[in-house]
């Protein structure tokens, strides 16, 4: 099965945390979900990174007519998670829109779906480099970063940050060497002090965790990756990673 295909709305009654993996950061137990979202049960908080909504329409503006369904797909995914987990708070870790103008281009139907999932809970938009400022009102609160208990939520991971950083931005993906072949998937990266989420956007690519952009961010000996699979997250230690 293809992991990214059909990540649509979850059927009612399905436990989105099934097949998940628990990652501990600064003493907080966090659940890495197969969809690529992060669930903090202790705070009933759902964390979403790099949704890149309206990437399709942004490419269309440049003459590249990729299918216009990316925003709807990602919203469907969030609707499923929100319905099943009923979070008290949702944090978007930045690059929620592929550009600030994405909020303006959002089709009315999608705007309404977004309003519906925001109802009854706190919704925080952390600013990303793609969307430092949202150019239309899409509900929620905008901020640069956010601290809750021992955790700090920001878009771009910082070299030398204090333990407890939860970030996105890098779109981590990892290639694991499995005997006859290697498999590459989007992944969570974690070393117990810091966690980087995979990108959620339907058209968001992945950057290998062996890329220099990740250098210095994680303690090598403690680093592990959690690869997104079909209804399951697969955890692997650093030694099983392959380049690319």
């Amino acid at each position: 099965m293809v992991a990214v295909a059909g990540r649509a709305r979850l059927p009612a009654g399905v436990d989105p945390a099934a097949g998940s993996v628990t990652l501990t950061v600064a003493g907080c137990a966090l659940t890495a979900l197969p969809s690529g979202a992060l669930w903090w049960p202790g705070e009933a908080t759902l964390i979403l990174a790099d949704m890149h909504l309206e990437k399709g329409s942004r490419m269309a503006m440049r003459g590249l007519m990729v299918p216009p369904y990316d925003t709807g797909l990602t919203l469907g995914l969030i609707e499923g998670l929100v319905a099943a987990l009923e979070p008290k708070r949702v944090i978007s870790l930045g690059d929620a829109f592929d550009d600030g103008g994405g909020a303006v281009r959002l089709e009315l139907a999608c705007r309404e779906r977004l309003t519906a999932v925001q109802a009854g809970r706190d919704w925080i938009w952390i600013a990303g480099n793609h969307d430092p400022r949202l150019e239309a009102d899409v509900g929620g609160i905008e901020t640069d970063e956010l601290a809750i208990g021992p955790l700090v939520f920001r878009h771009e991971p910082r070299q030398g940050a204090a333990p407890g950083e939860i970030a996105g931005h890098l779109h981590p993906a990892a290639r694991v060497f499995l005997g006859p072949k290697s498999v590459r998937r989007r992944c969570f990266v974690c070393d117990g002090e810091r966690l980087i989420l995979p990108a959620l956007g339907a058209y968001a690519g992945g950057l290998s965790v062996t890329d220099p952009a990740f250098h210095g961010l994680f303690r090598r000996e403690a680093l592990s990756v959690a690869l997104l699979g079909d209804g399951r997250v697969y955890s692997f230690p650093r030694r099983m990673l392959s380049a690319g």
Partner: protein, 832 residues
């Protein structure tokens, strides 16, 4: 027929014009389009150009007008020559300039390729030469240029060289569309096709003529030149043991080397880059006589390749090991021996390659075939018989790709505003698009405009728009610029530069030498520390840094042999049939080496040799597993698809298949259950298992997941302009693609399964990577003709494919279960 200066020129060289050269003059005089089929060395090129030279030489006041201003009335291009290769265009230009210079004719010949400097290409548009030599991509750019009308209004002749090689690719489809536009710009121009022998000349004759809906097919005249001296082809005879399987042909190097020593200049053709590397390395290891042996394949640095070509032409080499990069018609030097290592896979390819030796019609070419294993002995013998018979096996021309059409439609909007009615009428005169339906055409136009989605949210970003007068126009000049940058149908796989680094340093020093380029996916199968052959040396893969693979030299002499990558052709249908025929007929075995006949005799004793039309399926146990080996002889691609579908089916029937391996000749599936027993009990029967209906739902389900389809989709998406390869300012290729086409494919499949690009992908895959057409033909052919042999042991015929198990990576796409197994193992370990 021939004017005096020409007669004198021939005479001065002691030549007499050949009959077909004169016939070509007559055809030109009668204003007839014509297909000239001639073997290499028959003076085909001169025959094609002679009428144009005669006409140009005889025109009034033969000094041409010199155009200074744009308004000045002037002559456009008289003859357009199109070749599949840049290098060939340049080579032919040189050959045509010679008689022009020697006769002192005032005829200007120029080339125009991707390498031509921009200022010269610009100048050519307002001051064109009489004869322009170019490529299909350049033609597309020219017909879309603002100056197209003046350039081509005086066009008399269009010459297509190596037409047989052009028409079966997407480039050929683009060329056919370009020709359709040329006909509109120059209704009186005639076409000339130059071709090697083909199975069905009528297809090429029709390709050269405009099709008219509802009217019978119109054919260009045909001129055929009988073959010259028959080539002397032999199969290498060796006292060494011919291996059952494998592709190294290592047993033959001693004998091969002796043959090289006796020749002046040898070309050694192989089928894949990895084979080229291997042969090159092995020959050097026994090069006691210090022969100058060079290597030539598509991954080597261009400068390196040019050096080898120059050395060849200058006579500085003794032998060159090459892949298909040296296939087409260029005269590289005085080659007197062609060696083919591995089976040629197609009789036409063999003929073409052998034609590289001795470019003179009346002297026979000399060639040696070196089969790498026993099945290849059969195949070589079949190919050899075919060449003597003059049989050819070029594939039929398929219906034109919709991705290519999309590119052309945008190009025609770049040229000038068009109405859908006019453009539809025009493109359907192109042979590959003669059956294109109007509805499909309209959907392609819609795709070009806004992507063609049911959700109309991109209307405001449309690339082309229909204006009030009903014409379609480009909505912004940038669109035209991007189109020009991306014209063409050759999609490059994402590639990595191979750079020398040091194993001690994580980040490479910038100084490390770049050795060449290789497809990214090649490195995806490698773990750091793996070794491979490249450029004749053993390299160790270290890591990937940005767009470079960092490698180090190593003293290791036995590299992990790379899996097949790049340039592997499946066994042709034609040759497969010949091999099946040979197997079924023991009286034809006398020409085979004793080792091989003994192998076949043993098979006859232990199992059976199937009749030509039958499909043999053998089942047998081995160690703890059960095997099923079938012998369709339909090529690796079709077998791979069959393997995927059969294992799916067996799994559904709970027969517990584990894996399969496919070769050009056979398919081996293994599993935990006794499949022989299942078939005997009819649960399922073999007839049911091999039923054609597997091409329905099973195929559909598999396609959804197949990485092969994704690779094909990427090509279509790039050609159709959904994703650009090049963007102004970033004129690199491959990794520039801005969104992963795999992700786009998934979204498209789930939301618009009937999208025009998925149709194009499907059509490509059916004839390409999945070879479904061939698989379908085979399943129809063997209906009711499947012969089952349930054996106690492996049969002699099954040995080669069984040896491939473990060497060839197991086909299959069980990523998810691989991940699950590995993760579970770790958990189990941790739990102790």
């Amino acid at each position: 027929m021939l004017p005096a200066p020409f007669r004198a020129w021939f005479g001065a060289r002691g030549w007499v014009p050949r009959e077909h050269q004169l016939t070509m003059l007559e055809k030109a005089a009668a204003d007839r389009s014509v297909l000239l089929i001639a073997p290499t060395g028959a003076g085909k090129t001169l025959a094609g150009f002679l009428p144009s030279l005669v006409d140009l030489a005889g025109r009034s006041g033969s000094s041409r007008l010199v155009a200074k201003g744009r308004s000045l009335a002037r002559r456009g291009i008289h003859t357009l020559y199109i070749s599949p290769l840049k290098a060939l265009a340049v080579d032919v230009a040189r050959n045509v300039e010679r008689p022009i210079a020697e006769m002192g004719l005032a005829i200007r010949v120029e080339t125009r390729t991707g390498d031509t400097p921009a200022y010269k290409r610009q100048r050519q548009k307002y001051d064109p030469p009489d004869i322009l030599m170019t490529t299909p991509e350049q033609l597309e750019l020219l017909v879309a240029a603002r100056e197209a009308e003046q350039l081509f209004s005086g066009l008399k002749t269009v010459i297509f060289d190596e037409l047989h090689a052009l028409v079966t690719s997407k480039r050929g489809e683009l060329l056919a569309l370009g020709l359709a536009r040329l006909r509109r710009l120059a209704p009186n121009a005639r076409t000339v096709g130059l071709s090697a022998t083909v199975a069905n000349p009528d297809e090429l004759r029709a390709w050269l003529m405009p099709g008219r809906p509802g009217e019978p097919e119109c054919l260009a005249d045909l001129v055929t030149v009988a073959g010259g001296a028959k080539p002397e082809i032999t199969i290498l005879h060796s006292e060494e043991r011919i291996p059952w399987a494998g592709h190294s042909a290592r047993y033959a190097y001693g004998d091969l080397y002796r043959a090289l020593r006796q020749a002046k200049l040898s070309l050694i053709f192989v089928n894949t880059r990895s084979q080229a590397e291997m042969v090159f390395q092995e020959l050097w290891s026994i090069n006691d006589a210090n022969l100058k042996i060079a290597l030539h394949h598509g991954s080597l640095d261009v400068a390196q390749r040019r050096k080898v070509e120059a050395a060849m032409a200058a006579g500085g080499l003794d032998a060159v090991v090459a892949t298909s990069t040296l296939d087409l018609g260029i005269d590289w030097g005085d080659v007197d021996l062609v060696v083919h290592v591995g089976a040629p896979k197609g009789a036409s390819r063999l003929a073409q390659r052998i034609g590289r030796a001795n470019h003179r019609l009346d002297e026979p070419s000399r060639a040696i075939l070196v089969p790498a294993n026993r099945f290849e002995v059969l195949e070589c013998q079949a190919a050899l018989d075919a060449n003597y018979l003059g049989d050819q096996d070029t594939p039929p021309i398929r219906a034109g790709g919709l991705d290519v059409l999309a590119q052309h439609v945008l190009g025609m909007a770049v040229a000038a505003p068009f109405t859908a009615d006019d453009l539809y009428a025009e493109v359907t005169t192109a042979y590959p698009y003669r059956d294109l339906e109007r509805e499909t055409f309209d959907r392609v136009v819609d795709f070009v405009a806004t992507g063609g989605y049911a959700l109309k949210s991109y209307d405001r970003y449309a690339k082309i728009r229909q204006t009030k007068d009903g014409t379609w126009r480009v909505s912004h000049p940038d669109i035209a610029q991007v189109w020009r940058l991306n014209v063409g149908t050759i999609v490059e796989m994402p590639k990595l530069k191979v750079r020398l680094g040091s194993p001690q340093r994580r980040v490479p020093s910038r100084g490390g030498r770049i050795l060449g380029e290789m497809e990214e996916y090649f490195f995806e199968t490698m773990a750091p520390g793996d070794t491979f052959l490249f450029g004749g040396e053993v390299l160790k893969f270290l890591f990937i840094h940005e767009s470079e693979a960092i490698v180090a030299r190593t003293a290791d002499t036995s590299p992990r042999i790379p899996v097949y990558a790049g340039g592997r052709f499946p066994l042709s249908t034609f040759l497969a049939d010949k091999v099946r025929t040979m197997l079924a007929d023991p009286t034809s075995w006398s020409r085979l080496p004793t080792q091989v006949t003994e192998w076949l005799e043993l098979q006859r004793l232990v199992s059976i040799l199937p009749n030509r039309g039958d499909l043999l399926v053998e089942t047998f146990p081995r160690r703890d597993l059960h095997y099923m080996v079938s012998y369709p002889f339909e090529g690796r691609l079709a077998h791979q698809t069959l393997g995927m579908l059969l294992t799916r089916r067996l799994e559904r029937l709970r027969a517990r298949p584990i894996g399969f391996v496919a070769s050009d000749y056979a398919l081996g599936i293994w599993g935990a259950d006794d499949m022989g027993d299942l078939f005997k009990r009819g649960a399922p029967s073999l007839q049911a298992l091999f039923d054609e209906d597997m091409l329905g739902d099973d195929l559909e389900a598999w396609m959804a997941e197949s990485y092969l389809l994704k690779r094909t989709f990427r090509n279509c998406a790039v050609v159709a302009g959904l994703i650009e390869q090049r963007h102004p300012g970033h004129e690199k290729s491959g990794r520039q693609v801005t969104v992963s086409t795999d992700l786009v494919y998934d979204v498209l499949r789930s939301h618009e399964p009937d999208h025009i690009l998925l149709q194009a992908t499907w059509a490509d895959a059916a004839t390409g990577l999945l070879d479904i057409r061939r698989l379908g033909d085979m399943l129809t052919r063997v209906k009711g003709r499947i012969i089952h042999r349930d054996l106690e042991h492996i049969s002699p015929l099954a040995v080669p494919i069984m040896l491939d198990i473990g060497k060839v990576p197991v086909a299959g796409e069980a990523d998810e279960s691989l991940l699950a197994d590995a993760a579970d193992r770790l958990i189990a370990e941790a739990m102790g």
